[in-house]
């Protein structure tokens, strides 16, 4: 027996409560510049894992910034009904003057939790990403993959059910990335997370997502959506993942080609 993607849906999240992220007709333009995002509409269900895929200039990161409330749309609405979303960047962006545990504790402290409570919770979260032996290490003493796991623990410390990830594994080597994919799937399942994951790596999107959303570039629009429907555990090198990746890559190439002929 294998796990199916519907088994992975968070058990304690009430689906009837509506989407965890609701993007309705969102457009974004910086100053008098060109349109970056054009009328994006996208709902992410609680417990769903959605990958945003696109070439350069599709506004993936801009879209995440809107969801993370770091920026406001020029028109349309972006809502996270459950409160603030947690955000992970391509760089771990840990504070180098703090230990791994202190980095996680800072997130808890800024949310107003008490000293004893945050110490325990930071340890639990680092245990969750299997870094219980690295709590007192400083970022420079950790490998790239370990740092990104601390960043994941810090994001989880925000106690948001929505996790936004902006190409979080792009700077890692292939083996580490593969391990972190597995780790993310495991944590997402155990923590009942809704994930919105930006990537330019088609296989990564298919490896991780329940749904892949292909964005067109300049301006960013939703070009096409794919339901992945491959049972977990998945492997990035499996034939099912490869098959869907081939299809999506072909569409992505068509999208990119359009820009060459237009110019």
């Amino acid at each position: 027996m294998t796990l199916t993607s519907s088994d992975l849906a968070a058990p304690d999240v009430v689906r009837a409560a509506g989407p965890a992220v609701r993007i309705a007709g969102a457009s974004k333009r910086f100053g008098a510049g060109p349109l970056v995002l054009d009328d994006i509409s996208l709902d992410v269900a609680p417990g769903e894992f959605v990958c945003l895929l696109g070439a350069s200039g599709c506004g993936k990161s801009t879209l995440l910034n809107l969801v993370a409330d770091l920026d406001v749309p020029s028109s349309g609405t972006v809502e996270v009904p459950g409160g603030r979303a947690a955000l992970m960047f391509q760089e771990p962006a840990l504070f180098p003057w703090l230990t791994a545990a202190q980095n996680v504790e800072l997130a808890l402290r800024l949310r107003g939790s008490g000293k004893k409570e945050r110490r325990e919770r930071a340890r639990d979260l680092l245990g969750l990403v299997r870094l219980q032996d690295a709590v007192d290490k400083r970022p420079h003493e950790l490998s790239g993959g370990m740092r990104q796991r601390v960043a994941m623990a810090r994001a989880l410390a925000q106690d948001s059910h929505v996790l936004l990830m902006d190409e979080p594994f792009a700077a890692l080597d292939a083996i580490t990335r593969d391990v972190l994919h597995e780790e993310l799937v495991r944590i997402r399942q155990s923590q009942a997370l809704t994930v919105l994951f930006v990537t330019h790596n088609v296989r990564e999107a298919v490896r991780l997502g329940d749904r892949v959303v292909l964005l067109s570039s300049r301006p960013g629009r939703v070009a096409k959506e794919y339901a992945v429907g491959i049972d977990h555990p998945r492997r990035i090198e499996s034939p099912e993942v490869a098959r869907l990746s081939v299809e999506i890559t072909a569409d992505l190439r068509d999208e990119i080609r359009r820009h060459g002929t237009a110019a």
Binding site: M1, L3, A68, L70, R84, A86, L87, F89, E91, A93, F95, P96, W97, L98, L106, A107, R109, L110, R111, R130, A134, R138, P139, H140, E141, L142, S143, G144, G145, M146, R154, Q158, I175, T176, V179, E182, E183, R186, P233
Partner: protein
């Protein structure tokens, strides 16, 4: 879930755990190696040799009679004079007087320079208005302030402290500004994502991130305090002010006593180097090492 599936999931999980443990062990560097005694020894001999060479050249110049003895005494004469000065306490007293003035001046400069730097770094009109002035002041030798300070405050401690502040405050403020300017914008974004606003951003993100630049500014601020103080003491002199190292130098010049002058210079050097080595160098090293900005072996 059936029990068979549970167990297979557990096996997979163990599998991932051991894979990850292996990867972590491979990627994390080996533990830092420390061998204090050896490092100290290898750091100590080059300056010792350099000083010995310098004394040798001096002795040869003395023997060759390059200058009359009152202008160029032998190293041994200066050494004996130094011992005398130390015995009767004049040198130590002068060092104490200067050090307490320099220390107090530095602390006041710290209290003014730090908020001033913060203002320049964070408030745009302030930066536009006085930023260039404050960084320009750094290149003005503080001795240039002495006449103005004497006219304004008269001969007295106020004039001396004014010169120290005018020398040290710009350094400390500039250190703060460059420390904050070097904070990666990503840190502020992370702070915002984690929910930091206003004062929390400064306290938990901006100020700790700016610390290396700030400590560099403190170090330079001390050097400027000390130099300004010597410039001021050389000129601002009166019996009721007490004798600092600068005043000792001036006394030596007045008496045409080269050995006393050399003893004063040595005193100035010793205090300057001691504060640097005992206070600022370890502070800076500590800050940088904690952030992995300093290689362990050097």
């Amino acid at each position: 879930m059936s029990s068979a599936r549970m167990s297979s999931a557990t096996v997979r999980d163990d599998d991932l755990a051991s894979l990850e443990a292996g990867l972590d062990a491979l990627e994390a560097g080996p533990e830092e190696r420390k061998d204090r005694g050896r490092r100290l020894l290898s750091a100590a001999w080059p300056p010792v040799v350099a000083v010995a060479l310098l004394l040798g050249v001096w002795e040869m110049a003395y023997r060759a009679g390059v200058k009359p003895t009152y202008a160029l005494p032998s190293p041994a004469d200066v050494g004996l004079r130094l011992v005398d000065q130390l015995r009767d306490g004049t040198l130590l007293e002068a060092m104490g007087v200067s050090l307490s003035r320099g220390g107090l001046g530095f602390l006041v400069a710290l209290a003014i320079g730090t908020p001033l730097g913060l203002l320049i770094a964070r408030v745009r009109p302030v930066r536009r208005g006085i930023g260039p002035l404050v960084s320009g002041l750094q290149s003005l030798p503080s001795v240039a302030w002495v006449p103005a300070a004497i006219i304004f405050f008269g001969i007295g401690n106020a004039a001396i402290y004014a010169v120290i502040l005018l020398g040290a405050v710009p350094s400390i403020a500039n250190g703060m500004v460059s420390g904050i300017d070097q904070v990666p914008p990503l840190y502020s974004r992370v702070g915002r994502v984690l929910g930091a606003r206003g004062w929390d951003t400064a306290r938990f993100v901006l100020l700790p991130a700016a610390l290396p630049g700030y400590v560099g500014g403190l170090r330079q601020g001390w050097a400027f305090s000390w130099r300004s103080l010597m410039a001021a003491e050389l000129i601002v002199k009166s019996p009721e002010l007490g004798t600092g190292l600068g005043q000792l130098l001036e006394e030596g010049r007045f008496l045409q006593d080269m050995s006393l002058v050399f003893a004063g210079i040595l005193g100035i050097l010793v205090v300057g180097i001691a504060v640097e080595l005992l206070l600022f160098a370890p502070l800076e090293r500590r800050v940088l090492r904690r952030r992995g900005l300093l290689l362990a072996t050097r």
